[in-house]
């Protein structure tokens, strides 16, 4: 521990080269977490799991955070030796890509080094890490938070973004303010209506590219305004963002400004919850490198409003946000049938209905004789509230959770999906219509022992046809779990591709330490978190994962 403290102290002094005095008390503490994931790969060319020369690949990291009074500093060690399949090979290597120091003095909080942050919903700025997607666009720079009075938070940032083991050439500068009116205005102090307003602005600098035939903006700014109003059971939120001309590889170097609007409203009371949401995105790809494609170096974060499914076949066709343009809406009603009622039974029944639909935006040529989306033009004109004709994604789903008695509990789900593979996965294919039925039944033997069975069936006449998944999981709380699973592509038109993707796993948890082993096949597919996706290649082999925190 002494060594670690020394390392942290040294690092803290080294990173910024700044000097400040702050009283450290003797109650400093170190905490952190560790994760190791490794796989031994077995060649299985039938399912496109090709030879991995290294045989074993692994991703791991350790976070170490030291806190003492108003002072915090930390480092993260990462090792990709080599990166597991599905992660970008550019991550290969190991080192300390993340280090920071923060102190707070009265109204001011200063962070130097790396940090994650976002303005509002993230429409114009979100720096975050999502390990499952291989995304880490951590900032490396300075962040200052200032709270002059209760109810006002001002935030300023400047820095580069992380790209794999390097930093973006482009620089970001931004400011955000949030104002809680109820705290600021004495007349509103006791009002039932709570209002929070926010505004932000950000600008990226990227040097000119002399070989481009277009006049490229080297400073590109974006602005956003937001509100959050709640009164009793009702809440309403919204954010609008605007970005000036930003020709990029992803928008085919058009000069049209970008816009985004997110609105959501909710109502909740005991036993009932209603959420509705709508969004429009128009040319909002925003990165520190105009020529970058894929997931790196994003500045804007455009969350998906579709429901994120967790059952494997429900998540077979996930939606991915289309930054160049999309319009959609979402509605969800959750209702709890009371205990003792006909449908509620002894323990009550939870039911949820959810619907979302995403289309393209309506576009027209920007001027006579100019083809739509032509490079070096305004690209297109688009009416703000007009839906386009092309459907990108639709999801209607129902979920019912019911506890029958002390032993039996079940979740039943049904989904009806329409998935535009040519837009979402960017390769040719018909619209995919899929129906999915899922039964998830748990039988509890006693306080410690339980068995859970999951049966899922997906039916589709397109793509790879029908799928079935069966899973049995046995848990000995709180330490052990064992599971076996098979995913069977029984409806594939190509008889030779009716593969079984079998998997067996066991896990041991004690306190904050967890070890899991897994053996089996993983189908190729897409993993999405919040509308951002990563393609995962097929694999076969042994997997071990260790997570721990202290």
């Amino acid at each position: 521990m002494k060594k670690t403290l020394l390392l942290l102290t040294f690092f803290t002094l080294a990173i910024g080269g700044f000097v400040f005095s702050q009283e450290l008390n003797s109650n400093g503490n170190i905490h952190g977490n560790f994760s190791f994931e490794g796989q031994y790969y077995i060649t299985d060319s039938a399912i496109n799991a090709y030879e991995v020369k290294e045989k074993i690949l692994s991703n791991s990291f350790l976070n170490l955070i030291y806190t003492n009074g108003n002072f915090t500093s930390g480092i993260r060690y990462e090792a990709y030796l080599g990166p597991m399949k599905g992660y970008d090979d550019a991550y290969a290597g190991n080192g300390l890509p993340y280090r920071f120091a923060t102190y707070k003095k009265d109204e001011l909080e200063v962070t130097v080094g790396n940090f994650y942050d976002q303005f509002g919903n993230g429409l114009i700025f979100r720096s975050y890490e999502e390990k499952t997607l291989g995304i880490d666009n951590a900032m490396d720079g300075i962040r200052v938070k200032f709270t002059p009075v209760n109810g006002i938070t001002l935030k300023g940032i400047v820095g580069n973004q992380r790209i794999y083991w390097a930093k973006s050439a482009g620089v970001l500068r931004g400011i955000d303010g949030e104002f809680a009116l109820n705290d600021l205005c004495s007349r509103m102090k006791d009002s039932k209506t709570k209002i929070i307003l926010g505004g932000s602005a950000i600008s990226k600098y990227q040097k000119d590219k002399p070989t481009s035939k277009y006049k490229l903006p080297v400073n590109v700014a974006a602005f956003a305004g937001r509100f959050d109003i709640s009164r009793g059971r009702f809440a309403l939120q919204g954010e609008y963002a605007y970005k000036i001309n930003d020709p990029s590889a992803l928008n085919n170097y058009i000069f049209k400004p970008g816009e985004a609007l997110f609105l959501s409203g909710s109502y909740s009371q005991k036993g009932l919850g209603v959420i509705v949401a709508a969004k429009r995105i128009d040319n909002m790809n925003f990165r520190t490198d105009r020529d970058m494609i894929g997931n790196p170096l994003t500045i804007s974060y455009l969350p998906s409003i579709t429901k994120q499914h967790t059952y494997s076949l429900a998540a077979l066709y996930p939606y991915s946000t289309q930054p160049n343009g999309e319009m959609g809406f979402f509605g969800q009603v959750e209702y709890m049938f009371k205990k003792g009622s006909k449908l509620g039974g002894k323990y009550g029944t939870d039911a949820s209905v959810n619907f979302s639909r995403i289309n393209n935006i309506k576009k027209e040529s920007p001027g006579a004789g100019i083809a739509m989306d032509s490079a070096g033009t305004m690209g297109y004109k688009s009416e703000f509230f007009a839906f386009g004709d092309e459907l990108y994604f639709q999801d209607f789903n129902l979920e019912v959770t019911h506890k029958f008695n002390k032993h039996w509990k079940a979740i039943f789900s049904y989904l009806n999906l329409i998935y535009n593979i040519s837009i979402i996965e960017n390769h040719e294919g018909p619209l995919i219509y899929a129906n999915v039925g899922i039964a998830d039944v748990t039988y509890k033997f006693n306080e410690k022992n339980a068995v859970r069975v999951e049966l899922q069936n997906l039916m589709s006449k397109q793509d790879k046809g029908d799928w079935f998944t069966g899973l049995v999981e046995y848990t000995i709380a709180p330490k052990w779990f064992f599971s076996v699973m098979d995913q069977y592509n029984y409806g594939n038109e190509d008889f030779e591709k009716r593969f079984h993707y079998y998997m067996a796993a066991l896990g041991y948890t004690k306190g904050s330490n967890r070890i899991a082993l897994q053996y089996g096949r993983q189908r190729e597919g897409i993993v999405c978190v919040g509308g951002i996706c990563r393609a995962v290649p097929a694999s076969n082999g042994f997997q071990i994962s260790i997570t721990s925190s202290f």
Binding site: Y50, E54, G82, S203, K213, A249
Partner: protein, 281 residues
């Protein structure tokens, strides 16, 4: 409530100084593009070289070849493809279907120097960097990467003159290189020979296609893997170099299927600034 207005004002003021943006007015085209003059730059487009690193025993490589073919068909005047057989997937077997040796010393060297050994198929797109210190691009990203270069203005113009002497199967090529903009780095000229329509076995997933047609196969370089240095310090706009090279074609190669691929690259970034191709016969 009274200080909300002033705080908004301060925030806006800070925002004004803090955030800068460049609003570009139409026309969006640069007006300083050299589009007249001796070199005739108005017609010069930047061409893009797709180097497809492949092997006859590589099960996924035919998919990459198909992607390269599609991109080439979409931009026939702006895209040149070269298939480099190297690495363990290209190693010939002692017997069986895969005894033919497609490998070349040049291809082996490039494969090693660009660190491409791990997973095939993989490609280089005009050797632009895909990440700091890396040039490799997955074949699923070739089309997107090519798209980012299609609108670039050419910085170098290459003019090829080929004279093929059928009697002794000798290809004589003269390359005129015109620098259209100042390039303050050493540049090298490479002249390679590729051959189309070689019918030899190829793995495709778990199948072996015995009569697979191999296209754009790198055969040999006229002037070494990294070619001939053009300029000792800076290629100033207007500088012109003329170089001649010749090569006897191996009897194993079909002359009418052979192409000469010529490119110029920067020594510092390794980026290929321009590429041209001409048929041998």
């Amino acid at each position: 409530m009274k200080y909300i207005g002033s705080i908004f004002f301060i925030a806006l003021l800070i925002g004004y100084f803090f955030v800068s943006c460049d609003k570009i007015e139409e026309p969006f085209l640069r007006n300083n593009i050299p589009d007249t003059g001796d070199t005739g730059t108005a017609t010069v487009k930047r061409k893009i070289l797709i180097e497809d690193y492949t092997g006859h025993k590589c099960p996924n490589c035919p998919f990459a070849a198909e992607v390269a073919k599609t991109i080439h068909e979409e931009h026939p005047d702006q895209v040149v493809v070269m298939a480099v057989h190297a690495g363990s997937f290209a190693t010939p077997d002692a017997s069986g279907n895969f005894t033919y040796d497609f490998r070349t010393p040049e291809g082996n060297q490039l494969n090693g120097d660009f660190g491409l050994g791990a997973a095939y198929p993989i490609g280089l797109i005009s050797r632009i960097t895909s990440a700091p210190g890396r040039w490799d691009v997955q074949y699923t990203k070739w089309a997107e990467t090519v798209d980012t270069l299609l609108n670039d203005v050419a910085t170098v113009k290459l003019t090829l003159t080929n004279n093929y002497v059928e009697a002794n199967r000798t290809s004589n090529v003269t390359v005129k290189t015109d620098f259209l903009t100042d390039i303050e780095q050493n540049c090298f000229l490479c002249v390679y020979l590729t051959e189309d329509s070689i019918i030899k076995p190829q793995k495709k997933q778990n199948l072996t296609i015995l009569d697979y047609i191999h296209m754009h196969v790198l055969r040999k370089s006229f002037n070494g893997t990294y070619g001939t240095q053009l300029n000792s310090a800076a290629g100033a706009a207007g500088a012109t170099f003329t170089n001649s090279f010749s090569m006897n074609l191996s009897t194993d190669w079909v002359d009418k299927n052979c192409n000469i691929v010529v490119y110029v690259f920067r020594e510092d970034t390794k980026e290929i600034l321009q590429v041209e191709t001409v048929k041998v016969k």
